[in-house]
Amino acid sequence: MSVLSVCEWLQSVPWAYGIKHSTWEFPVVESVHSLALSVMLWPAAILDLRLLGLTMQRRSVSQVAAQFLPWVWTGFTVMILTGALLFCSEAVKCYNSPFFRTKVVLLGAAGLNALLFHQTVFKKVAEWDENATTPWRAKLAGASSLIIWIGVVAMGRALAYA
């Protein structure tokens, strides 16, 4: 059983087929997907910018993280759920699209970047929490996250027009 045949089966399932072929379902799910981006992306970017020392320098990094990470997780959950629905409704198109494949790789990279950050430099945040200038690993994590998420959005848009 190939991945492609799974995708073919997936988009033929009645509810998935319904999302793609009804007048309202696809644009509504897509709207929620785009709106959830605001809940996730900007709070994530604020933390990234703090890690780069570009905003909220007077607030400690851990406080900025505590304030904004719940937003990121809330938005991310909605994005994954609505994204899964959109994927199911046009699974074959996604499977064949280099943009979708790149998007999945970038999402993996974003996860890995966040995991590495939390497991390494953020564990010792107490040592540099109040500093406006953060360690280079924190800067690297912030810059990587910003670039990766811009790429994720760009791939999503490219996928829609390909």
Partner: protein, 159 residues
Amino acid sequence: MLSESLRPYFEWCGNTWLGTAVRNTTWAFPAIETFHLLALAVLLGTVLIVNLRVFGLGRQYAPAAQLARQFEPWLLASLGVLIASGIPMAFSEPSKCFESVSFPIKMGLIVLGIVSQFTIQRRWVINGDAGGGKAKLAAVLSIVIWTLVGAAGKGIPYV
């Protein structure tokens, strides 16, 4: 929805250098839309962070007025990017915008959003008593208006 008498103006936009350039460049539209979406995330994200704080979310961190002041430059900058990226997209497909119901609704909501930002947001949230009824009204209006702007934008290709 729009009066037929406006059609020539839309057609004029489509024939400008800007409209033709975006139409004739393969990846221009999705590339511009990427920036449009990123800026929307900044604008709507800020609107949510500030205005949900009026309702007590994140009480332990900073008062709503302080958040609103701190984030206003980001809000205005993202609005600038949204307008600057929205114009070439609209110019590239003016007939779609003209036929669409979502487009004029979106434009009306943007005007409403900008007016409310400089009037009731400034007065009641940024400079006001953030726990009061007026601040709450301004907060709800802001969230509803800007969310609908985003949703109406998504609606342009469909209705």
